[in-house]
């Protein structure tokens, strides 16, 4: 088993680690919402061509680092711990911020009650990130 965290969501997936490389089963790829077709990596009928020379498919499955590269997403891998984190691309985050639509979030207060930014639509919001450090 391998833990694959996708932008905060934790998936336990079928993957093998050989020679320091992580290869996902096709089922694991499907868990992430992708399928590998001759046209490339496909999701909901849309396909991203796999860059030439990128060794995405191996005998053991789909190479995680190559997958991240094909999707233009950042990945952090710990082969010893059998865990990886697949993040969100800089391009996607930049596009969202440039739109000036404040990204919504849901976070708990000290009592565990979850609050969303969007609950405050109709008010002016001063959003403050702080920390004890």
């Amino acid at each position: 088993m391998f833990t694959l965290i996708e932008d905060g969501t934790i998936h336990d997936v079928d993957a093998t680690v050989t020679n320091g490389r992580v290869c996902l089963s096709h089922q694991a790829l499907a868990t992430l919402g992708w399928e590998l077709h001759p046209e490339g990596l496909c999701r909901e009928g849309l396909c991203i061509p796999v860059p030439a020379g990128l060794a995405l498919e191996t005998d053991a499955g789909v190479d995680l680092e190559a997958l991240a590269k094909a999707l233009d997403r950042p990945v952090a891998i710990d082969v010893d711990e059998h865990a990886a984190y697949l993040g969100v691309s800089a391009g996607e985050r930049a596009r969202a911020l440039k739109s000036l639509v404040a990204p919504d979030f849901a976070l708990p207060d000290l009592s565990g009650r979850v609050h969303r930014l969007s609950e405050h639509r109709g008010k002016k919001v001063l959003l403050v990130a702080h920390a004890s450090w």
Binding site: T3, I5, D7, G8, I10, R73, P74, V75, A76, I77, D78, D80, E81, A83, A84, Y85, L86, G87, V88, S89, A90, R93, A94, A96, L97, K98, L100, V101, A102, P103, D104, F105, L107, P108, D109, L110, H115, L117, S118, H120, R121, G122, K123, K124, V125, L126, L127, V128, A129, H130, A131, S132, W133
Partner: protein, 206 residues
């Protein structure tokens, strides 16, 4: 620190939302309890806000209007002058500006001005955040040695991201106010980089 502003302006269609980027709710608890806020005061152990808003240090503030649009991008402001000797920032400049915005006396920035002042994440920033995300999960699992590798790697990828470099210190058994932090900040200053990067008008340079 922001409770007084909230109390003063809350009847004008205004709310403060504070978000603590701390390793546990218990790390943030004494600070929040001391402020006894009546506005939402949230805990963000996974740095969701940093990821969504490209927050690289604290404090970071943003203004969001009634339609949910960012009208002042990431800026540095304090609610009081408690740390002015360290920050060299006069909190009254931002407080006056935010009051004028809430009252409708002064417009926030126009979109082109916002774009000009926005800092967007780079590929390295996002790789650093993936390292942080993996490290934070490993740390929460009790796999602290493995977590350390990823926190260090994240800091190397985005040396300006103090939510990673300083924010992970408490998880790594390092005092975030101690000698290692001071050395890091001095080295950063020596390389010609400011630790706080307020927008020009908040810094009193408009």
């Amino acid at each position: 620190m922001w409770q007084a502003l909230y109390e003063e302006m809350k009847d004008r269609g205004f709310v403060v939302i504070t978000v603590a980027l701390d390793k546990t709710a218990d790390d943030a608890r004494p600070w929040i309890e001391a402020a006894s806020p009546t506005h939402p005061s949230l805990i963000d152990t996974r740095h969701v806000l940093a990821e969504l808003y490209n927050v690289v240090n604290v404090p970071t503030i943003l203004w969001i209007d009634e339609r949910g649009r960012i009208v002042r991008p990431n800026d540095v402001a304090f609610g009081a002058d408690t740390f002015r000797h360290l920050t060299n920032l006069d909190s009254s400049i931002h407080l006056e500006a935010v009051r004028a915005w809430i009252r409708g006396d002064a417009p926030a920035f126009a979109p082109d001005q916002i774009h000009a002042q926005q800092t967007l994440p780079s590929a390295a920033d996002q790789r650093a955040r993936a390292e942080f995300g993996l490290g934070q999960w490993l740390w929460a699992q009790g796999r602290h040695e493995a977590a350390e590798r990823h926190f260090v790697r994240g800091g190397e990828l985005a040396p300006h991201d103090f939510t990673i470099r300083r924010g992970t210190m408490p998880m790594r058994g390092i005092d975030p106010m101690g000698p290692q932090f001071r050395a890091m900040r001095e080295e950063w200053a020596k390389a010609g980089h400011p630790y706080y990067r307020p927008l020009a008008d908040t810094a009193g340079r408009a």
